[in-house]
């Protein structure tokens, strides 16, 4: 793995003089001044520095009679270009706990993976199945420690000994516990569907339809969300990960073709120039296939 120059210099420093540098955790902001100078130089020429890719998402969750349903769209955007048409935004944390991620794609992905590993270790250490509240607590303590620089907004949902629970966690480290939640750029569109039709203790099919409708509202009304609807139904007994549950947007059919028959363009003149090539050097390299 390539180490950047500032990291190498720091390693040398700690070996040579042991007193001055105290080890600091968290992010290193040493490159911010260099980046500012580079960005100024680039913008003079008309270019801009690349942005961290945000998922531009609609994610939602609700609690129904038997458990929790999480839903998400599947579009990942890079500014105004769709980077991934079918990405997975519902991540596994524990057998009965899943997490939808919005915000910066890399942050959401890595944060959920770290949580999954911590939860497994904690569960082995305590000898008990994990609690959704425990996952939420670890998430928010980590995100608060990084003061919002880790840009992941998450909806954590699952079923544990205390029943079905749903939490939202924001990048700065605050959390809310609610019966229905939406997050991401399409949150406003999705929450309006929930506010209209949510009732406590809904049946499974009605609840799945409601989450599907909420995500679809985000897909149609928000530019950052699109493609398919993924659902994850978690109950005390089963987990149903329904990838591609609905595909509200079909790719359009091309109406005409732009191919021309051979001979459409008339040939006026034809000139043939042979290229004479001489062999200068010939060498044989044996490939090591063992």
């Amino acid at each position: 793995r390539q180490r950047t120059r500032p990291q190498l210099l720091r390693a040398e420093n700690t070996m040579l003089n042991t007193s001055t540098k105290t080890p600091t955790g968290g992010f290193s902001f040493e490159n911010t001044r260099r980046n500012a100078v580079l960005e100024a130089n680039l913008s003079e020429k008309g270019y801009s520095a690349p942005n961290a890719r945000k998922t531009g998402t609609t994610i939602a969750g609700l609690i129904f009679k038997d458990g929790v349903i999480l839903g998400a769209d599947t579009r990942a955007t890079d500014d105004m270009v769709v980077a991934d048409k079918n990405c997975m935004k519902i991540h596994y944390i524990a057998p009965k706990i899943y997490c939808c991620g919005a915000g910066v794609a890399a942050d959401a992905e890595v944060t959920t993976q770290m949580m999954s590993s911590n939860v497994e270790l904690h569960s082995l250490s305590t000898g008990r199945p994990p609690l959704v509240a425990m996952v939420t607590r670890q998430l928010k303590q980590m995100l608060f420690r990084y003061q919002g620089h880790i840009g992941s907004s998450l909806i954590v949902g699952g079923v544990d000994v205390n029943g079905p629970q749903l939490y939202s966690v924001y990048p700065h480290g605050s959390y809310d516990k609610l019966p229905f939640l939406t997050m991401g750029s399409g949150a406003a569109s999705a929450v309006s569907v929930f506010e209209d039709r949510y009732k406590p203790n809904m049946e499974l099919e009605e609840a799945k339809q409601l989450v599907r409708d909420a995500i679809t509202a985000g897909i149609f009304c928000d530019l950052g969300s699109g493609s398919n609807v993924d659902l994850c139904v978690i109950t005390e007994k089963t987990v149903d990960y329904l990838r591609g549950y609905d595909q509200p947007v079909q790719k359009g059919l091309r109406e005409g073709t732009y191919r021309y028959k051979p001979g459409t363009t008339a040939v006026l003149t034809k000139t043939v120039t042979p290229l004479t090539l001489d062999v200068v050097d010939e060498s044989v390299q044996v490939m090591d296939t063992e």
């Binding site: 700065h172 480290g173 605050s174 959390y175 609610l178």
Partner: protein, 212 residues
């Protein structure tokens, strides 16, 4: 202001606590905003710190939740060491120590209230900056500016529990009417020797004032 901070969730809010003989009444609105979007319209800003000590949170949601968790742990540990119920003043001091030490990084306005056997019902306010002072009645949050006049003119010492509840509910309703950052439902809690009683007053049940 740093643009990242602006989009963090804020509980620019209205919170209030009143002492009466035998306990305290605490109240808060229920709105949490991210910019102009209401992220949670039924927030519970009255957070338990110990069995008979609660705090009202205003300011940054992340900061106040993290501080409240840390103080809950510290106070719980202290109470086990002492083998008796902690004092409300102790809880307020713990809040003050954290809010003052990290005053540059935090945005938190907290009202600590509760009942202990030694001094009865007490209200301590720890505003932004980390000062701590005891007051018989305290209001906080962005909506508090609109009700200082109402509180100053209507508060009388030695009110009963029911009078305090009515006073708090009316003050919070007036603030919620005028402050865009406050709204939702009114959450009330009464803490006394008997324990904690919690109430919710929904939007259509709020006291009505004449509108001109």
């Amino acid at each position: 202001m740093d643009p990242v901070e602006f989009l963090s969730k804020l509980e620019k809010t209205t919170i209030m606590a009143v002492e009466f003989d035998g306990g305290v009444v605490m109240g808060a609105d229920s709105r949490t905003t991210t910019g102009a979007y209401i992220a949670n319209r039924v927030t519970d800003k009255l957070t338990p710190i110990h069995e008979r000590i609660f705090c009202c949170r205003s300011g940054s949601a992340a900061d106040t939740q993290a501080i409240a968790d840390a103080v809950t742990y510290q106070l719980g540990f202290h109470s086990i060491e002492l083998d008796e119920a902690p004092l409300v003043q102790t809880a307020a001091s713990l809040f003050r120590d954290m809010c003052y030490r990290y005053r540059e990084e935090l945005m938190a306005g907290i009202i600590v209230a509760g009942w202990d056997p030694r001094r009865g019902g007490q209200v301590y306010t720890v505003p932004v900056g980390g000062m701590m002072t005891r007051q018989p009645v305290s209001v906080g949050g962005s909506g508090s500016s609109y009700i200082y006049g109402y509180v100053d003119s209507n508060y009388r010492p030695a009110m009963s529990k029911e009078e305090c509840l009515k006073f708090t509910a009316e003050a919070l309703t007036l603030a919620m009417e005028r402050d865009g950052s406050s709204g939702g439902v009114v959450r009330l809690a009464v803490i006394s020797e008997q324990g904690v009683e919690r109430q919710v007053i929904l939007g259509n049940q709020l006291p009505k004032f004449s509108t001109v």
